[in-house]
Symmetry: C2
Subunit: 382 residues, 2 copies
Amino acid sequence: MRFLHTADWHLGRIFYNLHLTDDQAYVLEQFVALAREARPDAIVIAGDVYDRAVPPPEAVSLLGETLSRLALDCKVPVIVIAGNHDSPERLGFGGRVLARQRLHVVGQVAAEAAPVAVADEHGPVYFCPIPYAEPAVVRERLGVEAAGHEAALTALTARACAAVPAGARKVAVAHAFVTGGVASESERPLAVGAVPTVGAAVFAGFDYVALGHLHQAQQAGGAHIRYAGSPLKYSFAEAGHRKSVALVELDAAGQAAVEEVALTPRRDVRCVEGFLEELIAGGATDAHADDYIAVKLKDAGALLDPMGKLRRVYPNVLHRIFEEPALAAAAATRTDHRRQSEAELFAAFFAQVTGRGLSEAEAAAAAGLIEAFGRREREVGA
Amino acid sequence: MRFLHTADWHLGRIFYNLHLTDDQAYVLEQFVALAREARPDAIVIAGDVYDRAVPPPEAVSLLGETLSRLALDCKVPVIVIAGNHDSPERLGFGGRVLARQRLHVVGQVAAEAAPVAVADEHGPVYFCPIPYAEPAVVRERLGVEAAGHEAALTALTARACAAVPAGARKVAVAHAFVTGGVASESERPLAVGAVPTVGAAVFAGFDYVALGHLHQAQQAGGAHIRYAGSPLKYSFAEAGHRKSVALVELDAAGQAAVEEVALTPRRDVRCVEGFLEELIAGGATDAHADDYIAVKLKDAGALLDPMGKLRRVYPNVLHRIFEEPALAAAAATRTDHRRQSEAELFAAFFAQVTGRGLSEAEAAAAAGLIEAFGRREREVGA
């Protein structure tokens, strides 16, 4: 059994005000070509196919066209789940009809676990789609007491395992933050005021776990528990990543061997460093001058419109990284609010207004409210 | 050949701050039952399936579930087009895959006309899906000069006819305002500063024209050119309508006979008139007191919280109609801005600011801008 594992396409992503649709179409073209050449028995896409609940129309068209090519032209069964960025209802449109054509798009947690069986010469492999869902949704849908993310996912994986015949090979397709995984800058936190991570033990019993959420390809708690990573770099913190797709071979005993197949972006995301004049001179002969670039300038004094000048040779220079000693020192004493959670921001605001910290009960009440707002926001698809 | 013709479902509609999803699910249940009992050879849904480009998630689920039941459970080919309320790209998601399961959802004007052939004992009938599109889109997609709505639709119907074998029976499925049709209050105008209506002659050659847009069931320029009307009353102006679905029989020669099959709403939309005390007394024994109600009070003097009192017997009284002579007279001298088009509003604003009317060139420039904004708004799915 050979299958492709990918995740975190984030179609409709905007990167420093630029729509990445063309870049995404470019890399998905490679993915479709790979599906055609590698002739996998199945394809799994482990969530965050869109960047937001209501993606732009071009992203909807791109996903529809790509999935149609995989299912109809390549004739490969495709299993897609919703991630925390996707709207379960929107993504799941027409799922029952699409499934008749090998396209299994699972947006919401279904009333019953419905593993997708794909057979090879050794018998069936059961792909268990486990879309991302908040604990409250799992509690309601499954009628369980699951308090947090780990308990909720445990209930879902247990249900999935129970739906697979004993002894059969099985693959989980899930969207979660497994303890020990390394985050990049471009993931959206899964939980506010709660523990979003889950132990790898929740996936005990699966022969392979196809994960989505973390954007760097990596193992998490075992060689067979993997993040495929995003197909493109979605932040400058990912400049050093090598983006890829996992090509997984599952043998008769369920032993998985993974090959990372590299993807080539239309434009790379990278950081350059040097003196302004030096960079401008180098850019003139840079074959990849249209890459998405963050620049760190070594020049000591003030510069006149350095970004404008750089843009003439690097048209997609998007960001300037400051690290002049004085600025860095100033930055160190300042809190970067973008790195604070909603709960932390509220606590800071409360302290500033009242002159005292939150009591434990107040903090819990605030966390509850923030979670409720977040849930409502996702529900209305904002 | 027997087929069901419906249109203007407007799923996700909000009526005086009430979400109508439950009412829509109720009436669609009847529609599915009808499809099961009448055993039609096809079903056509002529646009405005959603109320807006980005419908709420529950509307997406309801449409997906309803279409799945029609195509999979009833096993009837379904042809759906986008109306002016729908987002062509969003509605068209997965269209190529869905079409393999008899579900033909046509959001965008396709690169080529693709009639759907459904056969009976007399041979095939070609259903030609013609989704709503603005003239600018038609010009670009078909490479024609079509200046206005009529020219654009003429180009589309001509292309559709050319794709059907000569002599074969054919049915157009379109979303348009045919000259002479009677509008209700709940349609959204198709054009700003332009002529949105089209002559019935653009549909010459079709044996039946299944129209959407106008919410009252009616003929338009011929017995075989029909609006099915919306399945529910979407304004109090429609209180007198009898909502229905058209059950069409097309004989061997292409002659159409139409039966209007009535639909029963979960709650009716109606207007009541009388003295407050009278209405309150009557409401106590009204078996349909939970209908959506607009009330016109005959009482002469001031009343203390009449709507609050009425709500105790009519929980869904939503609107008070004023027609006291003094108020009516005052209203007559006032312009109702809600009934003015964007172009009229801008002209009034311009006159107020500058003290003079718009020149012809200025009016044309303004109309162009308004149209461009409207198009952009629909594109971003706002």
